[in-house]
Amino acid sequence: MLQKKICMLGSFAVGKTSLVRRFVESIYSEVYQTTVGVKIDKKNVKVDEKEISLVLWDIYGEDDYQKMRWTYLRGASGYLLVADGTRKTTLEKAVSLEQKVREEVGAIPFVLVINKSDLIRDWELDPALESQLAAHGWGILRSSAKTGEGVEESFSLLTRKMLG
């Protein structure tokens, strides 16, 4: 079976681990538990009649305490760039991470996932910036690890992008 490595990137507390747990185990926890280190999960999916094994690298969110190791991206076929719709700084961080990935490992497929769509009333993202990034060819989806909205679609879109 074809195997593809996907990395989860983004600021801390944007919901990377929650998205993986929702996608792999269909569960969600309200309690924020920070990720220290790297967690790896697998899930088999079928895209366009092809069976693919996705190896999901859930990498801790970079901040002042933990710096990103770019070697984790070695061999990655793509990555999900996760931002939190209620914290506009996380979108700025996502934009900056995309830039760094391009410098470190080159242009590989990615999808920007703006998480926490269940809290849409508290969103502080500028919709204009969202549409500007989309106009630059970014694949952007809104998701909620809590309700499951957009989660399957995000991984599916990335998988299609990885398969070309």
């Binding site: 490595k5 801390f12 507390a13 924020y32 538990q33 920070t34 220290v36 280190g37 790297v38 967690k39 790896i40 190896v55 690298w57 901040d63 305490y65 933990q66 190791r69 070697t71 984790y72 070695r74 061999g75 914290r87 700084t89 979108l91 700025e92 934009v95 900056s96 995309e98 830039q99 969103w123 502080e124 993202l125 500028d126 919709p127 204009a128 910036l129 500007q132 990034l133 630059h136």
Partner: protein, 669 residues
């Protein structure tokens, strides 16, 4: 036993799994394996056959690439992984770290589960990140609260000022008893609303101050250019993603100092909001430029974009309005630029925007240059008139020349009307620039400045006036009219050059109290006249206070004498029923009434009662009330004498139909 054997045994004792790399990602245990290892890779735990660990663990597979490099050149720096998590067969998450070793020519992989250390690390990071999230949340809440606070202060208080003044004026007119009852109801309701607004304002400002206590209270200063650069750094990638260049203007001296009286995190938020606004309208391939300029007592910052320019259907000041969003590429809630405006104005600055001659627009703001932190020995904060001390009350107010500047037409009209009725000469100005021009062209005893005006704020006008007075002996009495009445605001206003503050919403009596404290008014009281030994001003002085309108004065005395017993009963009941809020409210109202007649001692006791009410300390209230009643009795006797005086001469233009005598008849009964 050689040293390697000793080391191996020691490592095993410490819970390390030692495996020899046999090539192709396969490993053979070289010592007894710890229990946690068997929980994950049970089949490898018996130690007989090489185990393809790298195929079972994607993380190890990745790490082996680094380990291979180390084993191929063992002299290089040590090779150790960060922590990763493996799941045991039972689903337990086990943290692991790996280290590549080269021992006796063998390629050894040492695996270790730093369980306790890992738990500590998780605990530490959880606390740190929760705190960081709380801080972000708090910053957002503060912005929302500041906007709400501003709305309460201005959007709710401004109309209330008009209502107070209009009802005060109406109560002096000849209206029916029934109308008076309605008026009393209206006054009661507007007083209640004022109390609520003040309570909310106090709660919010205390709350905000407490939230920002970490080194940001008082007169903090920040470097304008450094704040701009920090914001540029955090927004740089976003600009790059859109293909918009972001630069500091070449006219800026990078080594210069740009200290402004502003708190850093809010200042960065202002830059961030202005830059985001510029990015929204600037097409890819164009540039946004940020700069700072020296304007003497003020420093100016600007953000230039190369977008379409300002919309033609909007005035620049409308762009900074609440919930204002552009038709094209509008922001989310229309709060960003509004926040910039209220924050800049709160710091005594101004903000604006213009279309640039060729293309694009410039958003700018200017802030007072910081002059260093205020020490504890700085001038005492100003008091607002609404909490005025009895010492303010002077014997009389001679006609004054007053410059009144307010951009609110209704407040301007009513205040000017009342001041003129009181015999003052009033020149009005609709904005700050007009006020400054008027000041320079004529002499004034008092200048009453609204704080938030177009063109120039009250602060700016005050600074400019004080500058023109430098070296002169006599200075004009400057009064700020504002809804921002916290102690921090008072300190700021004092620094801007104000002598007094008229808190909005205000009543006529508040305004009269302020005017009576002005040097021009007090100098008149020192002139030789027949000093009154009784409480309150003498009749002639009182007539002067109401613009020479004896009829009006008598009506006011009549109302005062009629209402006083009921008001004193109300205060006594509030004390008896242990209702501090009502006591404070009634005492405040009474203070204003006795203040009109310049009854200093009565005013002082009313103030004491008000303060006792506000602090919910009622034990001494009855005692103070007894003193107050004593003073009121003296005042009443005095005023009754005035009420019976024959008018000096009827004013020809004030001759009106005689009022029916029904009230008098009623009173006699």
């Amino acid at each position: 036993m050689n040293m390697s054997d000793v080391l191996e045994k020691a490592l095993v004792e410490m819970g390390f799994a030692l495996l020899e790399h046999r090539g192709n990602g396969e490993f053979l245990p070289v010592a007894k394996l710890p229990g946690w290892f068997a929980e994950i890779w049970a089949e490898a735990a018996d130690g007989s056959d090489p185990v393809p660990l790298s195929r079972q663990s994607p993380f190890l597979e990745n790490f082996l690439l680094e380990a291979e490099d180390y084993w191929n050149s063992p002299g290089s720096t040590s090779c150790q992984s960060e922590t990763w998590i493996e799941k045991s067969l039972s689903g337990r998450e086990i943290p692991i770290q790996a280290k590549a070793l080269f021992l006796d020519g063998k390629r050894i992989l040492a695996l270790f589960s730093p369980d306790a250390q890992f738990r500590e690390q998780v605990k530490f990071l959880q606390i740190a990140r929760n705190a960081s999230l709380d801080h972000e949340r708090l910053a957002r809440e503060i912005q929302k609260k500041e906007i709400l606070l501003h709305c309460i202060v201005h959007d709710l208080s401004q109309p209330l000022s008009v209502m107070h003044v209009a009802m005060d004026l109406l109560s002096e007119e000849s209206i029916s008893e029934r109308s008076k009852q309605f008026l009393t109801l209206g006054k009661h309701a507007s007083n209640q609303q004022e109390t609520m607004i003040r309570q909310i304002l106090q709660t919010f400002s205390d709350d905000l101050r407490a939230s920002l206590d970490a080194g940001t209270e008082g007169n903090s200063s920040s470097d304008l250019l450094q704040c701009a650069r920090k914001t540029m750094t955090s927004l740089g990638p976003t600009f790059e993603a859109k293909g918009v260049r972001l630069a500091v203007s070449s006219t800026v001296d990078p080594e210069g100092k740009w200290p402004v009286a502003a708190e850093e995190s809010r200042l960065q938020r202002i830059f961030s909001n202005l830059l985001e606004n510029a990015l929204r309208y600037t097409p890819a391939g164009r540039r946004v430029t940020i700069g700072v300029e020296d304007e003497g007592d003020f420093l100016r910052a600007f953000v230039d974009d190369e977008g379409p320019g300002l919309p033609q259907d909007l005035r620049p000041e409308q762009i900074f309005g609440l919930f204002m969003k552009g038709k094209q590429s509008g922001g989310k809630a229309g709060l960003g630029l509004y926040f910039c405006r209220i924050t800049v104005e709160r710091w005594g600055g101004t903000i604006g925007c213009v279309s640039l001659p060729e293309k694009g627009s410039r958003f700018w703001f200017r802030l007072p240059r910081a002059t260093g932190r205020t020490s504890a020995s700085s001038p005492a904060a100003l008091q607002t008139s609404n909490a005025s001390s009895p010492k303010r009350i002077q014997a009389s107010v001679r006609p004054l020349r007053i410059l009144l500047a307010d951009d609110q037409e209704d407040i301007r009209t009513l205040t000017a009307y009342q001041l003129k009725r009181s015999g003052h000469t009033v020149i009005i100005a609709k904005d700050g620039k007009q006020a400054l021009r008027a000041f320079r062209s004529a002499y004034f005893d008092v200048v009453l400045l609204d704080q938030e005006m177009p063109e120039m704020t009250g602060d700016e006008v005050a600074r400019a006036i004080r500058k023109t007075e430098e070296g002169k002996k006599k200075q004009v009495f400057l009064v700020a009219s504002t809804g921002n009445t916290t102690s921090e605001d008072a300190r700021r206003l004092k620094q801007a050059g104000f002598d007094d503050v008229l808190g909005k919403p205000f009543r006529l009596e508040d305004l009269n109290l302020i005017l009576s404290a002005s040097p021009a008014a007090t100098s008149a009281t020192k002139e030789p006249s027949t000093p009154s030994t009784l409480p309150g001003a003498n009749f002639a002085e009182l007539v002067a206070r109401v613009g020479g309108d004896e009829k009006l004065l008598k009506r006011m005395i009549h109302t005062f004498l009629r209402d006083m017993p009921r008001r004193l009963v109300g205060i006594a009941a509030a004390i008896r029923q242990k209702d501090p809020e009502r006591l404070a409210s009634l005492a405040h109202a009474l203070k204003g009434s006795v203040g009109i007649f310049a009854a200093e001692a009565a005013c002082k006791h009313s103030q004491e009662l008000q303060e006792l009410g506000r602090s919910s300390e009622l034990s001494k209230a009855s005692e103070v009330l007894a003193l107050l009643k004593e003073e009121i009795a003296k005042l009443q006797a005095n005023l009754r004498g005035y009420a019976n005086q024959t008018p000096a001469r009827p004013k020809s233009n004030h001759v009106k139909r005689q009022r029916p005598p029904r009230n008098r008849g009623k009173r006699r009964r």
